[in-house]
């Protein structure tokens, strides 16, 4: 039975393809492929139907299917184009086979359905796997990229180190911040470390708690932590929450914090020439 059906389908592949192409083009209107040129759409359709036939012919996945799906993923075609296309193919093929047979009883009908499903199912499965695999890959790459950005430490001067924090802090990141901070303080032999939270959108009790813990740990290894970049609205919410940040110095801007850090390490910014040489000032401005 499957072989006989396969023969019918392969022999009439031209007509089935034609029906399929008609249906797919007809249903194109609903959005997701609207900004793809007609020419590309048609050529992709033809290629797609050829891939379907060749993979049915060879009972399962082929290299063609793999390269085809890979290319579509790279071009950013939606997965729904492929799944819709395969559902249409299933429908068209079943219609075609039923039209060919004169009389179909229920048993035969369900057999035909099963056979066609067995052709289409593995292709759908493979394509969905390829797509979700590529998404998972992207997500994992982005996670790594995010992790690399999450807790940078910049040694700006002897004994002074800055950690600029940008974006939301979750538990995982808080852990990284603590580790990097302590490692960095030891490695760069920092006396003062500035934590800049200008880019942290919300400071709630969890974030505050982690910052307090980090500052306390820094104090334990003999350095001082200065919290800088506290915006006015953040200051108000911290007060409303009733969080006690009095155990370590805090400043509104990195510039003020840096001056404080210089004072703590017994240094000062001096103009070498009263009106010339504003280099260091400029440097400090750029750090702001």
């Amino acid at each position: 039975m499957p072989e006989a059906l396969l023969k019918i389908v392969i022999e009439n592949s031209d007509e089935i393809s034609r029906n399929w192409l008609d249906q797919v083009s007809e249903r194109r209107g609903n959005g997701y492929t609207a900004n793809i040129s007609e020419e590309l759409f048609q050529s992709t359709n033809r290629e797609f139907v050829n891939v379907i036939f060749s993979s049915i012919n060879r009972h399962g996945s082929t290299e063609e299917l793999e390269t085809f799906s890979e290319r579509l993923i790279n071009l950013g075609w939606p997965l729904s184009y492929l799944t819709d296309g395969l559902q249409t193919f299933r429908r068209v093929t079943i219609d075609f086979i039923l039209n060919q047979s004169d009389q179909v009883d229920t048993e035969q009908f369900s057999k035909i359905l099963t056979v066609v499903d067995n052709w289409v199912e593995p292709i759908i499965k493979e394509l969905v796997n390829e797509y979700s695999g590529s998404w998972e890959h992207i997500v994992s790459l982005q996670r790594v990229a995010l992790q690399e950005l999450s807790a940078p430490l910049i040694p700006v001067m002897d004994n002074i180190t800055i950690m600029p924090l940008i974006g939301t802090i979750d538990t995982e990141r808080a852990k990284l911040i603590m580790e990097n901070l302590l490692d960095g303080v030891i490695k760069h032999n920092a006396e003062v470390v500035l934590i800049d939270i200008t880019g942290v959108p919300v400071v709630d009790t969890m974030v505050a708690h982690h910052i307090i813990q980090a500052a306390e740990a820094v104090r334990l290894i003999g350095s001082t932590c200065i919290l800088v970049g506290i915006r006015p609205e953040i200051a108000q919410t911290i007060v409303n929450l009733g969080i006690d940040l009095s155990k370590f110095p805090t400043k509104s801007s990195l510039r003020k914090g840096f001056n404080k850090a210089l004072a703590l390490t017994n240094r000062d910014v001096v103009n070498l020439n009263q009106d010339a040489n504003p280099d260091l000032e400029k440097l400090l401005d750029s750090l702001k």
Binding site: A208, I212, I234
Partner: protein, 133 residues
């Protein structure tokens, strides 16, 4: 303009989603930046409580209108273990998870109206409103 919307809290990152949605609603309603930060922080606390103590729950937003004022109502509901002693959690410095213990009393101070309803073993519903000034 009395639409309702909300975020399901299942993962830690859903807290950020809830915060973002709440902040956008607050912006649309015309809250100033300080109140936006207050609302975002309050949502953050409520959503984190759901994530930490109940596991899953929902934070929903509703725009409420009184005779001469408008406000944003935040409802944080979960079906977690419930709160043993409400007066205790409303004290500053009480925490069962080693945190700062400033969450719920902090939310009460950040927002204008605050109501907490908890049944042990059934869950907790916290309703809080911030009025546009």
């Amino acid at each position: 303009m009395n639409f309702q919307s909300g975020v399901h809290i299942k993962k830690e990152w859903d807290i950020v989603g809830a915060r973002q949605l709440g902040r956008n609603r607050a912006k649309e309603l015309g809250f100033g930046t300080v109140d936006q930060a207050r609302i975002a922080t309050a949502i953050s606390e409520l959503a984190r409580n759901i994530y930490l103590y109940a596991g899953t729950g929902r934070v929903s937003f509703e725009i409420v209108e009184d005779i001469n004022k408008k406000g944003l109502k935040i409802v944080a509901a979960d079906e977690g273990p419930g709160i043993l002693d409400i007066s205790q959690v409303m004290e500053d410095g009480f925490s069962t998870s080693g945190g700062l213990g400033a969450g719920l009393p902090g939310v009460k101070r950040l927002m204008d109206d605050f109501d907490i309803d908890s049944v042990q073993g059934e869950g907790t519903v916290i309703t809080t409103i911030k009025w546009v000034r």
